[in-house]
C-alpha cells in the first residue's frame, strides 16, 4: 500500500493529458494571485484594518495551493510521464518540486493562521500577509526553477520580503537589528552567489542546468580552479539560504529577533527552499564533477559543512538561556542533518536516491516540528510570560494541551521514536550508513544525543518544574495560534505511521533526478 503504487494506479490519466501544460505550475500561480489579491484589497480599502480578512484570504490561498500540489502529487503529474518543463526549460515541474511546494504551502498556511492572533490590531497587517505570500511564492518558484537564472531570481524574490518581514516590528530594536544583520549577510551572500553563477557561466557558457551538466561532462581540464570556485560559491549561496556554516551567522539573531511566526516561517520554509534548490542544482548539473579529473569533490565539502553545522548548531544550543535562541541554534543543527542528504552522494552510487529522499522526508517532518515549536513560542510571547527557561517553568499547569504539543515537538526534534521525528532522522542515518558514510551518521547520532539534552530542558521546564508565579498573566487562549500549534503536533504524530508515504514519494522523486 506504499504511496508509489497508489500513484501508479491513478496515473492512468495524468492530469496533464486532460489540462493544458501550463497548468503544471498552478500552485505557483495561485500563490501569486493571492499575493496580488491582498495588495488590491489593501489598495481598495486602505484605512480599514482588515487583519482577519487578510488572514482568511492568505490562508485560503495557501491551502488551495497545497490542495492542488497534493492533488498533482497523488495523480503523478511530473512523476509518471517524466518532468514537465516550461518557459524553454527555465521551469520544471517534477516530484521534488511538488513535494517541496507542499512543504512551503503547509508551513505558510500554519504561519498565516498563527499570525492572525499575533497581529491582532496591527496597523498594516496587509503588507505582512502580502509579503508572506510573496515570500512563499518565491520559494515555490525556487522549487520549480530549472536554470541558474530562475534560481537566482526566485532566491532573491524569496529573500527580499523576508528581510522586511523580520524587521516588521519597526519600533522594536531587536527586530530592527536582526533584520539589518539578516539583510546585510543576505546581500553579501547573494553577491557571492551571483559571482559563483558567473564563474559557472564562464566555464560552461550556459545557465540551464542540463546545459551546465553537458558543459561539465567533458571534464574541467584547464579551468578546474575557476569551475571549483564557482561551484563552491554557489554552494555558499545555498548555505546562506539553508543557514549552514559558514553562512549561518545571520540565523541566531534573525530567528530570535523576528516575530515568532516569521522565525517559524524562515527556519522551516526558507531552509527547505534552500535545500530544494541545492538538491536540484547539484544533482542535475554538478554530478559529473564528482568523478571528473581533476575532481571537484563537492560532496566531501558538503560533508565537512554538515559535520561542522551539526556540531556548532547543537553545541551552541546546549547552553542557551533563551528558549527561542536555543531553537534557532537547533534549527541550524537540523540543517546539518539535512546536509547529509547532499554529503552522502557518490558518483553513480546506487543509494543516491535513497539518501536524498530521506533528507527530503526529514525536511518535511522537520518543517512541521519546527514550525510548531516556534508557534508555541509565539503563543508564550503572546501571553508575555517571558523568554528564558525559568519563565517557562510549570506552563503545563496553565496550558496542558499546548505543552503536550511542545513536548511532542521537542522529543521528535530530538529523534525519539515516540513521534514522527524518529523515523525521518533514523531513515537519514540508515541511508547515510548504507551509502558508506557511517562517520557522518555517527556525528549525527552524537549531536542528536546532545540535542536530546537541551530539548528535554524545555520539556523539563514545562512539565517537571513548578510555576514561579509569572503565569497568572495568562488569561485568554489565542484561538488561531492554538489551532496552528495543535495541528502541527497532530501532523508530527501522524507522520510516524504515515512516514512511509512521505518517504516513498521523496525517494521516487529523488531517484527520478538521478535517473
Amino acid at each position: 500500500m506504499s504511496a508509489v503504487s497508489v500513484t501508479n494506479a491513478v496515473a492512468a490519466a495524468p492530469l496533464q493529458i486532460v489540462l493544458p501544460e501550463w497548468t503544471a505550475i498552478a500552485p505557483v500561480l495561485i500563490l501569486a494571485l493571492t499575493g496580488l489579491l491582498l495588495l488590491t484589497i489593501d489598495a481598495i480599502w486602505p484605512g480599514r484594518n482588515g487583519n482577519t480578512t487578510f488572514a482568511i484570504v492568505s490562508a485560503l490561498g495557501s491551502l488551495t495551493a497545497l490542495a492542488v500540489t497534493v492533488w498533482y502529487l497523488v495523480s503523478g503529474t511530473g512523476q509518471v510521464g517524466g518532468s514537465i518543463t516550461l518557459f524553454s526549460e527555465a521551469i520544471v515541474v517534477d516530484g521534488m518540486a511538488l513535494f517541496f511546494t507542499a512543504i512551503f504551502t503547509s508551513v505558510a498556511a500554519l504561519v498565516v493562521v498563527a499570525s492572525h492572533d499575533y497581529l491582532a490590531g496591527h496597523e498594516n497587517a496587509a503588507s505582512y500577509y502580502s509579503l508572506l505570500m510573496f515570500a512563499t511564492l518565491g520559494m515555490a518558484l525556487m522549487a520549480v526553477s530549472n536554470s541558474l537564472a530562475t534560481v537566482f531570481v526566485s532566491l532573491e524574490m524569496a529573500s527580499l520580503p523576508s528581510y522586511a518581514l523580520v524587521g516588521f516590528l519597526k519600533k522594536n530594536r531587536g527586530s530592527v537589528e536582526s533584520s539589518l544583520k539578516y539583510f546585510l549577510i543576505g546581500a553579501l551572500s547573494s553577491a557571492v552567489f551571483a559571482f559563483g553563477i558567473s564563474l559557472v557561466y564562464a566555464v560552461t557558457g550556459s545557465l540551464l542546468l542540463s546545459e551546465v551538466a553537458a558543459g561539465f561532462d567533458d571534464g574541467v581540464a584547464g579551468f578546474a580552479g575557476v569551475a571549483g570556485i564557482g561551484v563552491l560559491m554557489i554552494a555558499g549561496g545555498f548555505a546562506y539560504k539553508t543557514a549552514s556554516v559558514p553562512f549561518h551567522f545571520w540565523a541566531p539573531e534573525a530567528y530570535e529577533g523576528a516575530p515568532a511566526p516569521i522565525s517559524a516561517f524562515l527556519s522551516s520554509a526558507s531552509k527547505a527552499a534552500g535545500f530544494v534548490v541545492a538538491f536540484r542544482v547539484f544533482s542535475t548539473s554538478f554530478m559529473p564533477l564528482l568523478d571528473a579529473t581533476p575532481a571537484i569533490d563537492w560532496a566531501l565539502a558538503f560533508a565537512v559543512l554538515a559535520v561542522v553545522t551539526m556540531v556548532l548548531g547543537n553545541f551552541a544550543a546546549a547552553t542557551q538561556e533563551n528558549v527561542k535562541r536555543m531553537l534557532a541554534y537547533s534549527s541550524i543543527g537540523h540543517a546539518g542533518y539535512a546536509l547529509i542528504g547532499l554529503a552522502a552522494l557518490t558518483a553513480g552510487g546506487p543509494h543516491n536516491g535513497d539518501v536524498m529522499g530521506a533528507a527530503m522526508a526529514h525536511l518535511l517532518i522537520y518543517g512541521f516540528m519546527n514550525t510548531g515549536a516556534f508557534l508555541f513560542i509565539a503563543m508564550v510571547e503572546y501571553w508575555g510570560v517571558g523568554r528564558t527557561f525559568e519563565d517557562y517553568a510549570g506552563l503545563s499547569t496553565k496550558a496542558p494541551f499546548a505543552s503536550l504539543a511542545m513536548a511532542v515537538f521537542m522529543f521528535s526534534l530530538a529523534g525519539l521514536p515516540v513521534f514522527g521525528g524518529f523515523f525521518s532522522k533514523y531513515a537519514l542515518f540508515a541511508s547515510a550508513v548504507s551509502a558508506g558514510f557511517w562517520w557522518l551518521a555517527a556525528v549525527g547520532a552524537i549531536t542528536s544525543a546532545l540535542s536530546l539534552y537541551y530539548y528535554s530542558r524545555v520539556v523539563k521546564a514545562l512539565w517537571i518544574e513548578q510555576p514561579n508565579g509569572n503565569l497568572d498573566v495568562i488569561d485568554s487562549k489565542p484561538t488561531g495560534l492554538y489551532a496552528a500549534v495543535i495541528f502541527a503536533a497532530v501532523a508530527t504524530v501522524l507522520l510516524l505511521p504515515g512516514f512511509p508515504i512521505a518517504l516513498e514519494t521523496a525517494e521516487a522523486a529523488a531517484s527520478a533526478l538521478f535517473a
Binding site: 484594518n49 516550461l86 524553454s88 526549460e89 497581529l119 491582532a120 531570481v153 528581510y163 522594536n172 584547464g222
Partner: protein, 143 residues
C-alpha cells in the same frame, strides 16, 4: 547625510586581509586557467534586439544569436520588484498619528512590565536583554 562621516570611521583594516586572501586564491586559480578562443557575435546583428528576443523566449524563431529564454525570470523579476517596492514602502512609512502598536512582545526586546522607564542598559551587559526606549503601549489593539 550622517554627521559622523569624518575620514576613516571604519574599524581597523585587519579584516580586510581576508578579502585580499580571497583575491589571491582566486587570482592563482584564474591565472592557471586556460580558455579557448572567443566566439564573437555575428556582425551586423543588433545585439539589443536579440536581447529583447531572448527576454521573451523569442530567440528561437526571431533572433539568430543563440541564447536562453528568460521569460520566466522576467515574470518573476516583475513581481519581485513590485514586492521590493511594497516592502521598502512599508519599512519607510512613518506612522504619524497613532504609534504603531508594537506587539506585546517580540523576539528579543520586550520586558514583561513595560511601565518601568528603561534607562539605556550598559552595552556589554551579559544577557541579551536590552532596554527599549520606545513607549509602545501594550493595549490590546481594538482599533
Amino acid at each position: 547625510m550622517t554627521t559622523d562621516e569624518t575620514g576613516n570611521s571604519g574599524s581597523s583594516l585587519v579584516p580586510g586581509l581576508a578579502a585580499v586572501a580571497l583575491f589571491v586564491v582566486m587570482a592563482v586559480a584564474i591565472v592557471q586557467s586556460s580558455f579557448g578562443t572567443a566566439v564573437a557575435f555575428p556582425e551586423g546583428e543588433s545585439i539589443v534586439a536579440h536581447i529583447g528576443y531572448a527576454m521573451f523566449d523569442l530567440q528561437g524563431d526571431m533572433g539568430t544569436i543563440a541564447s536562453e529564454g528568460f521569460l520566466a525570470a522576467f515574470l518573476i523579476i516583475a513581481i519581485g520588484l513590485d514586492v521590493a517596492v511594497d516592502g521598502a514602502l512599508f519599512l519607510a512609512k512613518r506612522e504619524e498619528e497613532g504609534s504603531i502598536v508594537a506587539l506585546l512582545t517580540d523576539g528579543g526586546r520586550e520586558l514583561l512590565d513595560t511601565a518601568e522607564a528603561t534607562t539605556a542598559a550598559t552595552a556589554e551587559e551579559a544577557s541579551m536583554e536590552t532596554d527599549t526606549p520606545d513607549s509602545t503601549d501594550t493595549t490590546e489593539g481594538s482599533r
